[in-house]
């Protein structure tokens, strides 16, 4: 029994089950799962990523003995790398090829080709970055991890940057535009008027086509090149008119789409205004102010780190304890408390990053997937998720006291960890600043359109 528990299988099954459940009920709510392979791959990626986090926790808490932990780390790492570099990209290529009609017959061959292309670019990724010490050979595990780390860290920093800015923007009601019911009604009226105009033009076109058909003319879609040439040659005024009307209809349809989106936006704002008046809304508003201060501080720290070429040597836990001991004069058992506080801090970081990532993935999936591409998109998301989690492990090393860092350093090999932190800071800064710019522009542009004069 102890051996069974020792292998980490029960937790693995638990994580696998959670991933399966998440896939079934959140991601694929509106679709039918026809290829179970996709669901299995997603759940397996999720399970092994979570096991890695679990091992970090075990490291802090001192569960199991050192050698068995080391063994589990190594095994987990190899499996995850195998999944992320071999399995998922290959299946992505396979499903892309299955969707393309022409290549459907030889999809196995083409997916191998696609995978080889992926491997080429993946390898090339390592060249511009100083991520390895020269003593590593070409076929070592560090080669793979370093590249996976770069991609994962980039994603993490992009998401962090955008999240840090977007979070206060959405929470705080200061930014909410004032929307009244009359605004919404006016916009709806315009939308319906536009639809009526489209309908009347289409009626004219339908009648004209009917008349032409009854006269025995072979009619092509007026927007086609040869149709227009032919109509000019045979001097049929009907089809020339149709081209004109069709252009007007296209413009009106574009307008109707715009109006629809703007109306939906107004409804959303109205809901948010009502929500902000509730108790929960006020609580989130307060949190928003808090997060905006945190966001400004993070941007400031990232700039300082880059400008002064500074890399933090101590982790927040040890530093916090040092401060309390030295400046506040409170004496307590450093070793005991550092272990527990690290556990809580690291635990919170892990849970919030998993939750945040899953929510973001779900939103992204709903926004861009359709019934044809859902398989490919889910696999892409599994790939991103795996890389994200691997890089989290890389970066979380910084938040842990030195005695717990050793195993990560041992297992992942001699990577230039400092580079990753610097790279994270750079991308975070870029992402946060561009998000601020983007949100500013979007905010400024919107109110001028709907304010009733």
């Amino acid at each position: 029994l102890i051996f069974f528990l020792d292998t980490g299988l029960p937790e693995g099954i638990l994580f696998f089950g959670f991933g399966w459940f998440f896939f079934m009920h959140q991601l694929f709510k509106d679709y039918e799962v026809r290829q179970y392979v996709v669901q299995v791959i997603f759940s397996v990626t999720f399970a092994f990523s979570c096991t890695m986090f679990e091992l970090i926790i075990f490291e802090i808490l001192g569960v199991l003995n050192t050698s068995s932990r080391y063994f589990h780390w190594k095994m987990n790492l190899y499996i995850i790398l195998f999944i992320l570099v071999f399995m998922v990209p290959f299946y992505i290529g396979y499903f892309i090829m299955s969707n393309i009609q022409l290549l459907h017959k030889q999809r196995l061959l083409f997916s191998c080709l696609l995978w080889l292309t992926f491997m080429y670019f993946f390898w090339k990724l390592g060249d511009p970055f100083p991520i390895l010490s020269p003593k590593h050979g070409i076929l070592s595990i560090e080669q793979l991890i370093s590249r996976v780390g770069v991609i994962g860290v980039t994603f993490m920093a992009l998401l962090s940057g955008f999240g840090a800015v977007n979070c206060p923007y959405t929470y705080m009601s200061y930014f909410l535009r004032n929307v009244t019911d009359t605004d919404i009604l006016a916009l709806e009226r315009r939308l319906l008027q536009t639809m009526d105009m489209i309908i009347s033009k289409k009626k004219r076109m339908a009648i004209a086509r009917r008349v032409m058909f009854q006269k025995g003319e072979v009619h092509n879609r007026p927007s086609r090149f040869w149709g227009m040439i032919k109509s000019v040659r045979t001097s049929a005024p009907g089809s020339e008119n149709l081209t004109l009307i069709q252009q007007e209809v296209d413009a009106l349809e574009e307008l109707s789409r715009q109006l629809f989106l703007e109306t939906a936006d107004l409804y959303a704002t109205k809901e948010r205004i009502e929500y902000s008046k509730t108790f929960k809304g006020k609580y989130f508003n307060f949190l928003g102010y808090f997060f905006s201060i945190y966001c400004v501080w993070k941007i400031f720290m990232a700039t300082i780190n880059i400008v002064f070429d500074r890399v933090g040597k101590t982790d927040p836990v040890t530093r916090g304890i040092e401060i309390t001991v030295n400046y506040l004069g409170i004496q307590f058992d450093v070793k005991f408390w550092s272990q527990h506080i690290s556990f809580i801090l690291v635990g919170i970081i892990i849970v919030t990053s998993i939750r945040g990532l899953l929510i973001t993935l779900t939103k992204f999936f709903y926004a861009i997937s359709s019934s044809k591409s859902s398989n490919v998109i889910v696999l892409l998301l599994a790939q991103i998720m795996g890389m994200y989690f691997v890089s989290s492990v890389l970066l979380i090393r910084m938040s842990m006291p030195p005695e717990y860092r050793t195993i990560i350093t041992e297992v992942l090999g001699e990577l230039q960890f400092n580079f990753y932190h610097r790279w994270f800071d750079v991308i975070f800064l870029v992402s946060a600043l561009s998000s601020i710019l983007f949100l500013y522009l979007a905010h400024k542009q919107a109110p001028e359109k709907h304010m009733t004069l």
């Binding site: 709510k29 509106d30 319906l192 309908i199 879609r221 044809k372």
Partner: protein
């Protein structure tokens, strides 16, 4: 083009089931070459001779309002969509025969459209549960259309068609199963051979 001749029909269904292709097929008698996402609502018009050949023949403009989006959209999108559901004469519910979930979502679509009309205050009173009673006194004719029949393997077709027959009964609707396939249409894009030019909506007559 007086409003007397106007017939408004909604075309509802999940994303990707083929509503835009269907509407294009009905109105332009052509296959839609490059279907893309429908944002908001796209309308098309078909000229129809009601009771053709009889003394009571009358020409109607059938407006097919193809409403895009999914049934699980954000409530702001649903509120915006609701503006299209006014004074509807008929509803076409489209589902994908290769995707079971799209058929399950049909009752939610019909509830969304019908409730809007029944409760003029604009408040959607529904907890999403399907209740056959709600359709019993429904005056608006419903037509259920299943698409992509050709993508289902021959052997499974019978099973799929039985399931959809039950579905149509639940709604008290008429049912058509369609193949939207390119090889049925000749190069000159003429009138499709054999495509029914007369359409009955639900069992009801077209009312003004």
């Amino acid at each position: 083009m007086a409003s007397l001749d106007r017939v408004k029909v909604l075309v509802l269904g999940d994303s990707g089931v083929g509503k835009s292709s269907l509407v294009h097929l009905l109105c332009q008698n052509q296959v839609l070459g490059n279907p893309s996402w429908t944002v908001g609502c796209s309308v098309d018009v078909r000229v129809h001779d009601y009771k053709e050949g009889t003394p009571e023949e009358k020409t109607y403009y059938i407006e097919l309002w193809d409403v895009g989006g999914s049934v699980g959209s954000a409530s702001c999108v649903k509120s915006t969509r609701a503006v299209f559901y006014n004074s509807v004469n008929g509803i076409i519910l489209v589902h994908d025969l290769t995707n079971k979930k799209s058929s399950q979502n049909l009752c939610r679509w019909s509830l969304e459209a019908l409730n809007r009309d029944l409760v003029p205050t604009g408040v959607l009173v529904t907890n999403g549960d399907y209740d056959r009673e709600q359709f019993a006194d429904n005056q608006i004719p419903l037509l259920v259309i299943g698409t992509k029949l050709d993508q289902i393997h021959e052997t499974k077709r019978h099973e799929v068609l039985t399931r959809t027959a039950f579905l149509a009964e639940d709604f008290n609707a008429e049912e058509i199963n369609l193949v939207i396939e390119k090889r049925y249409f000749s190069r000159e894009n003429n009138q499709i051979p054999g495509f029914p030019d007369r359409k009955r909506f639900g069992g009801g007559t077209l009312r003004n």
